[in-house]
Subunit: 188 residues, 4 copies
Amino acid sequence: MNQTKRRIFEKTMELFAKKGYDATSIEEITASVGVAKGTFYYHFETKEKLFSFLVKESVRLFSNSTIAKASKAKTLSEKVKAIILVQVKIVIKYENFIRMIASEMWGDEPRNIICREEARKYINTIEKIIVQAGEQEGKQIENSKMLADQIFGLLCSSLMYKLRDENEDKQILKLEMEYHVLKYIKLD
Amino acid sequence: MNQTKRRIFEKTMELFAKKGYDATSIEEITASVGVAKGTFYYHFETKEKLFSFLVKESVRLFSNSTIAKASKAKTLSEKVKAIILVQVKIVIKYENFIRMIASEMWGDEPRNIICREEARKYINTIEKIIVQAGEQEGKQIENSKMLADQIFGLLCSSLMYKLRDENEDKQILKLEMEYHVLKYIKLD
Amino acid sequence: MNQTKRRIFEKTMELFAKKGYDATSIEEITASVGVAKGTFYYHFETKEKLFSFLVKESVRLFSNSTIAKASKAKTLSEKVKAIILVQVKIVIKYENFIRMIASEMWGDEPRNIICREEARKYINTIEKIIVQAGEQEGKQIENSKMLADQIFGLLCSSLMYKLRDENEDKQILKLEMEYHVLKYIKLD
Amino acid sequence: MNQTKRRIFEKTMELFAKKGYDATSIEEITASVGVAKGTFYYHFETKEKLFSFLVKESVRLFSNSTIAKASKAKTLSEKVKAIILVQVKIVIKYENFIRMIASEMWGDEPRNIICREEARKYINTIEKIIVQAGEQEGKQIENSKMLADQIFGLLCSSLMYKLRDENEDKQILKLEMEYHVLKYIKLD
DNA sequence: TATGAATGAGTCTTCATTCAT
DNA sequence: CATGAATGAAGACTCATTCAT
C-alpha cells in the first residue's frame, strides 16, 4: 500500500468512525486528505467495498488481540476475565468505530450483511475459546453461546456508560467497568 | 388519526425498523401504502420529525410498561427481575425497531440526538425505579447507574442472540433469555 | 361578495403586498383567514386570476384618485402638481402593494403581462390628463410620454427613498418628498 | 473559469434577466447549455449564491463605470450629467438584468436583502461622488440623498419608457432620454 | 499514479389544484 | 357554502461513480 492509498485508508477509517458511513462522503475524505476525488477511485473500487474491507480488517485485529490475551491465561475462569478485559480495552480505544459497526449491523445492504457476519464470526471465536478451555478442564460449558453473546452485551453497555459520562476521566472509567464486569458477570 | 394517516404511520414504522432511516425513502413508503408522495407531507411535517415522533412515542410506551410491571413487584429483587423480563418482552416484540434506535443513536443529526436523549431518559427511569425500591428497603444502591446501563447491555445481547438464531421458536428463545438473565445478572 | 370571500380577498391582498406573489401560498392565506384550503377555490378560480383581479382593481382605484384630484385643479401646472401629490400619497399608503406590482411587472407569466398592461394603462391615463389640460390652455405638450414615465420614475425613487429611511416619521417623509418633487420636476 | 462554467454562468445570467429568479430552473439552465444537472452544482454552490454573486459582480461593474466617467468630468454640473449618461447607457445595455434586480429587491430571502444592499451601496456611491465634487467647488450639497435617489428613479422611468416602445430604435431612445434627463433634472 | 470535470439517478420537499362529501 | 384529504408535477440539491487526460 503506497503513501497516498494508506492516507486515504486511515482518513476514511477515522471519518467513518466519527460520522458514520452515510454521513461521510468521498468528497470529504479526499478533501481532508488533500487529494482529488478521482484518486479515491484509483485506489479503491467503491465506498462500500472499502467499508467492508475496513470492518473485516478491524475485526481480524480485535480477534487476534482476544485470542492472544486468552491464550496467555491458564484457567477457564481467568480466560473469561482476560477476554472481558480485552473487550473493555477495545471499547475504550476504538469506541467510535465499534459504534459505527453497531450502527451498520442492521439492514439489507451488502455492507450491513458483512457487519453482521463479522460480528457473528467474532462472537463465535470467543465462544470457541471458552468451549475449548472448558474441555481442557474437563468441563462442558452448556450455555457458551449465551455467555459469548453477553460479552457482546457488555460491550454495548460500556458504550452506553461512556455516552453518559463522556467527560469523565478514562482511567477511572476503565477501572469502574472492570469492576462491574467482574462483579456481575460470573461463571458457574 | 384517520385511516390513511394511520396506514402511512404504520408502514413508516415498519420500514424504518426493517431498513433503517436512510434506506427508507418517502417514495417507498407512499408507494407501498398506495398513496401519492404528497400525501405523506399532508399528514406529516418531515421525514425526520416523524422519525423523532415515532421514537418518542415508542420509548414512552416502553417506559410505561416498565413502570407498570415494576410497580406490581414488591421487593427490590423482584422489581429488578420484573424490569428485566419487560426488556426481554420488548425486544421480542419490537426487535427491529429497537435495532433501528440502536443504529440511529450515534451521530450529530437532530434525530440522532433525540435517540440518545430518549435512550438516556429511559435508562434513567429504570435507575430511578431501582433506587427508590432500594430506599424503601433501607438499602442504598451504590452502583445503580451501572446496573441500569447493564440492563441496556442485556437488551443488546438479546438482539445479538436473536440475530444468530433467527429461525428458532420465539417461545423457546424467551425462556432461554429469561434463564440466562436471571442467572447472570444478580443483585448484591 | 359575501363575508368569507371578502376576508380572503383582503388577506390575500395584504399577504401579496407583504411577501410577494410566489412567497404567499394558498395555505398561508386560508390559514390566516381561518378557513379551509378548499374555500379559497370555492370563491376564486386560481391564485393567478385573483392576483390579476387584485392588480386591476387597485390600479382602477389609483386611476380614479388621480383623475379626481387632477380634475379639481385648474391650470396645467396645478394639475401636474396634483398628480404628483397623489402619487406620493399612493406610495405612502400602498407602499408594499406598489412594490409587489413593480416586482411582478417583468417576465412571461400571464400575471406579469397583466401587470405591465395595467402599469401602461395607468401611465397613459396620466398622459391623457396632461395632454387634455394642455389643449385647454392652447398648449401642445410635446413630450407628454416622457413626463408621464417620469412620474412613474418618481414613484420608484420614492420607494427607494423610503427603503433607506424606513424608520423615519412618515409625515416628514411626505413633506420631503413633496419638496423634492416640486423642486426637481418642473414644467416648461 | 473554464469553458463549461463560463457557459453556465452566462446562460444563467441571461435566463435570470429574461425570466426572473423563480421562473428559471436549474433544469432549464443546464438543458439549454447542454450539460447534466449535476454539472451546475459542480461549478456553483447553490442557485441563490450564484444569483447573489451575479448581482454583486454586476453592481461592481456599474459602480466602476460610474466612478470612471464621473472622475473624467471636471465641474459638479458635468459630473452629474456624466453620471446620468452612464445610467442611461447601463439601462440600455443591461436592461433585463436591471429589471431583475428591481424585481428581487423586495422580500425577505437572502437574495432580496443582497439586492437591496447592493442597490443602496450603489446609490451611496453616487451620492459620495456628488458630495465630494460639491466640496471641491466650495458648495455644500444639501439634498444629495434625494438627488441620488432620484437618479435611481430616472433609471426606473427609463425602464418604463423602454417598456412602452420596445421596438423603437435604440439610438433614438438614447438621445431622447438624455434630452429629458438634462431638461428635468437640474442642479441648483 | 493522479486528476477533476462531468454525470444522472435519487432524495426530500412544496404547493396549486381537484373533488367527494 | 364550505371542507380537507389527496394529488402529482416540479424544484433544488447530493453524491457515488466514470473517464479522458
